[in-house]
Amino acid sequence: MNLGPPVPTRTIWRRAPWGLILVALLLAAVGIVNLASASRTADASLWISQLVWIGGAFAAVLLLLSVDYERLYQLAWPFWGLVVLLLVLVEVRGDVAMGAQRWLALGPIRLQPSELAKLAVILVLARIYEDDGERPQGYGLLDLWKPALVVGIPAGLTLVQPDLGTAVLIIAVAGTMVLVAKVRAGAVTVLGASGIAAGVLGWLFVLREYQKKRVLAFLDPEADILGSGYHANQSMIAVGSGRWAGKGWGQGTQTQLSFLPEQHTDFVFSVFAEEWGFRGAALLLATYAAICFMGLKIAAQARDRHGAFLAVGAVALIFWHTLVNIGMVTGLLPVVGVTLPFMSYGRSSGLTTVLAIGILANVGARRRTT
């Protein structure tokens, strides 16, 4: 691949997709304001910690703009290997939180390796499809063994933690990238069919009791209002009662009177929708759409396939998180632990989100100009 003469740092800064960065910063700011309301009852200082963390991550990412994303090509496999190692480690001696082994203490930093797994999969797949080049006839079923392994190992390790949400996310992001790389129609059909079969088998043999309960609760949330349907039900009440204009910042009764579970992490959108109403929620969705479209534009204009797939992966990461999270909060999807980018509190997920924006910015700053 011909990189041509190195682009000067000043040009990089000028060409950086500032629109995207600003929208992302704006979204992060909205998230912090919302967090300040969501966490009033629990821990009022959460939003400050989120501000510092996200702010720091943004600064770091911007500082790294001058480093070509080409480095990620070399880093892909080692990073993937490290993540798999960490996932194994977390299985062996991780901390248990909310009934699952997800956390790994690395000195002062508590890490969720499963969050990093999403990034690792994006990096490796981007490298693979850079290497493969365009295949006009598309990939057949048997050609997919490599991505299947790359995705299957970390996704499987995540599933056994058990963290169904993140496992699904990893597969969704990877699947998006694979589809964009072009897969034959026949293969898609077979994959879809086996996906359904896997779902049935998974229900029978893999899913734990609480996960099944969540799925059942999703199918009929009002059946067990005080039990497993409680989250979905209370969150729908929060969203719905926001109506057109919302109850106002800090005025959401569902939020402030603690009817919402995990209101500053997975269910943070219901806080926002309750307090800002349909007006606010629609604007928020528009913002996510803007980020996704700008990200995909960067992908289309990328210097090379590596950049294009990195960008597609980053957009897929943000999109799927948004879709699954809001879908779950509004009762469209079962309750699985998936965070909302920029809005949910959490270091690992915050970092992943900002890194995705960083990748987009980096790829965008080096886009083709002709």
Partner: protein, 652 residues
């Protein structure tokens, strides 16, 4: 290593990225639609659910109505009951706190053990559930607890309204008592549209039960904001519309009785016997002025303040203290039945003199008169005066049992009087048909002779006899006996008035009634009358003694004192006065008291005496607040209302 030029983004890839962009747009659009559906389409519904989440409705219990006597003297009211609770979550070193409480309240070891156990067992959220330590602290205990507040963390004294029967046992059976509503009552009251909840106290007997709907009132609602744990959050009342924050309770109506507390008090005091009943009734209205049942109980204790042992003692007491004897128990009337027999005899033309030689022979059996030496020639009036059994044997043998039964039924015997305070026994009116159905061998002529002297299967309730003697006194009108005059709102507005209710007319010639009344007057006022010894000075009284045999006795009569209590005769006295212009009927039944003239008449006459005294008091002028009070405990907070203006109607 990578091949140069292999990684160009070509047209196909760009197109697939565009397709993915469309998919992203679609996905987010679906979310938008879902949010629209929740917030706009179903927004109202979820708003209501959200309000339902944080609005907690606290019940504001309505004050139960008072029960007043005919002049407004408060008989039943409500008072605060100071109850102590301990909450395990807040008492820190609970054992120590309980130790102190035990000392202050003088808890016994058993109570202490029960509390320790309960506190120890409370886990999780249960620790926030207050545990009852003691109901109804007295003043001193309350003071001690209040003074030591600081050393009693987690201890709360809660005041709840509690029923207060100001005169204790006074008219206890008629007034009734409260108890926790059972499932059947909950169901019944809810169907009637009353707000009754589990654990609520409702009327179990008497007026408290009969007028539950009127006394109860309507509970109010206070709406407060609570968080998900049900903890009340002050300062957020703004979330609830002003008009919905508080719905005041509506106090229950007051029940104004026909009872005169002064007379009732006198009855309770005078009628000091192990078992029996007294009814004092206005002959021209059917209003009951006093009604007592012996033995009695304290409704203050029955209303949630009674131990299991005490309850068991009551239920095992052979004298059955809870039985409301004036209506819930029937007895042989003995000779007080003879007024009915006389009227039946007159109606069938048997109104002449009979020679009493100490008995009457029918077939091979001889029916004895109570006077073994005989009364000689006896007129119908004298037959009543001296209670000559022989005259009545002769009459009964002539007119037959069905003539007696017919007259008895016209007086309302054999059926409930309609007092309408819970169950009432109908009594038994024996007839040919009755014996054909119930006796081995069917009806025999001798049964009429047993019936005519108030024995055999002849059974009546004391209240029925009050109705009978009232009818004789008033010229033949059968009134429904009533204990309630009216229902009022707390401020005095009359909601419902219970006017005198005529249930029937005797339809006997005045001349017949006059002869009976003459005979009854002779019982008290003529020498030789069975109650002559107990006549009142200055007032003429008409009455009849009765001594009802409980068990068939042998040929030799025993003295009362020598018999076992439960085999002794019942002593009756039924009377009305004044004899020439009757106002009031008095019936006294002294269960197993012995002879009517010795064990019933004296009580009745003393009660009548007190009645006249009260009438005099009231005639002397409208009652002043001091006079309206009865000495022991009455403390009306407001001046009692003047005596009802229709008092005159009672004597007319």
């Amino acid at each position: 290593m990578r091949l140069p030029g292999s990684g160009n983004v070509d047209h196909g890839l760009r197109r697939r990225i565009l397709v993915y962009g469309v998919a992203v747009g679609l996905g987010l659009f679906v979310l938008l639609g879902r949010i629209w559906y929740l917030q706009i389409q179903r927004g109202e519904e979820f708003s209501a659910k959200s309000s339902g989440n944080f609005i907690k409705e606290i019940r504001v219990p309505a004050d139960r109505g008072m029960i007043l006597d005919r002049r407004g003297v408060r008989l039943v009211d409500n008072r605060p009951s100071w109850d102590v609770y301990v909450t395990p979550a807040f008492c820190g070193d609970c054992e120590e706190v309980l130790g102190r409480l035990a000392a202050y309240l003088a808890l016994d070891a058993e109570e202490r053990m029960r509390l320790d156990e309960q506190v120890r067992k409370a886990r999780g959220l249960q620790r926030f559930q207050p545990i009852l330590v003691r109901l109804d602290l007295d003043r001193d205990q309350l003071d001690v607890i209040e003074a030591n507040r600081d050393s009693l963390p987690g201890v709360d004294v809660v005041s709840t309204p509690h029923r207060d029967y100001l005169y204790g046992t006074l008219a206890a059976h008629m007034i009734g008592y409260l108890g926790e509503a059972n499932a059947e009552e909950l169901e019944r009251f809810r169907k009637a549209g009353l707000s009754v909840m589990l654990g609520d106290y409702v009327g179990k007997t008497g007026v408290e039960r009969r007028f539950e709907a009127q006394l109860r009132g309507r509970d109010g609602i206070q709406r407060v904001v609570t968080d998900a744990r049900g903890q009340r959050i002050p300062g957020l009342e703004g979330l609830i519309p002003r008009s919905e924050r508080f719905v005041p309770s509506v106090p229950g109506h007051n029940v104004v009785l026909s009872i005169d507390a002064r007379l009732q008090e006198a009855v309770e005091e005078i009628f000091d016997v192990p078992a029996g009943a007294v009814v004092v009734m206005e002959v021209n209205t059917g209003y009951v002025l006093a009604i007592a049942s012996r033995p009695t109980f304290d409704p203050n204790r029955m209303t949630g303040r009674i131990s299991r042992e005490e309850l068991r003692a009551i239920s095992e007491d052979p004298l059955r203290p809870m039985l409301f004897r004036p209506v819930q128990s029937h007895y042989h009337p003995g000779s007080i039945y003879k007024v009915i027999a006389s009227l039946a005899a007159f109606e069938h033309g048997f109104a002449g003199e009979v020679h009493c030689g100490g008995g009457y022979t029918l077939g091979r059996r001889r029916w004895r008169c109570h006077k073994e030496s005989g009364h000689g020639w006896v007129s119908p009036e004298e037959a009543l005066q001296v209670s000559c059994d022989t005259w009545y044997y002769a009459a009964a043998d002539r007119i037959g049992i069905d003539a007696l039964a017919d007259m008895a039924r016209r007086f309302g015997l054999g059926a409930p009087t309609g007092l309408d305070l819970g169950w009432e026994v109908p009594g038994i009116v024996p007839s040919v048909e009755y014996y054909e159905k119930n006796a081995r061998g069917g009806y025999m002529r001798g049964y009429a002779l047993n019936t005519v002297i108030g024995q055999g299967d002849n059974n009546v309730t004391p209240l029925q006899m009050a109705v009978v003697y009232s009818a004789i006194a008033n010229g033949g009108t059968i009134y429904r006996p009533q204990v309630v005059r009216r229902i009022e709102r707390p401020e005095g507005y009359v909601v419902q008035e219970f006017l005198p209710e005529v249930r029937g007319k005797l339809d006997v010639p005045k001349a017949h009634l006059d002869r009976v009344r003459k005979g009854l007057e002779m019982v008290v006022e003529s020498p030789g009358g069975t109650a002559y010894a107990h006549r009142l000075p200055g007032r003429r009284t008409a009455g009849k003694t009765g001594t009802a045999q409980v068990v068939r006795i042998g040929t030799v009569r025993q003295k009362v004192e020598e018999m076992d209590f439960f085999t002794r005769d019942h002593a009756w006295f039924a009377a009305y006065g004044p004899a020439d212009d009757p106002e009031v009927a008095v019936v006294v039944l002294n269960e197993h008291g012995g002879s009517g003239s010795r064990a019933a008449a004296p009580y009745a006459m003393k009660i009548l005496e007190r009645y006249y005294q009260i009438v005099e008091e009231d005639r002397a002028g409208p009652p002043t607040p001091e006079r309206a009070e009865i000495p022991p405990r009455a403390a009306p907070r407001s001046a009692p209302r003047p005596a009802p203006v229709d008092e005159g109607a009672a004597s007319g």
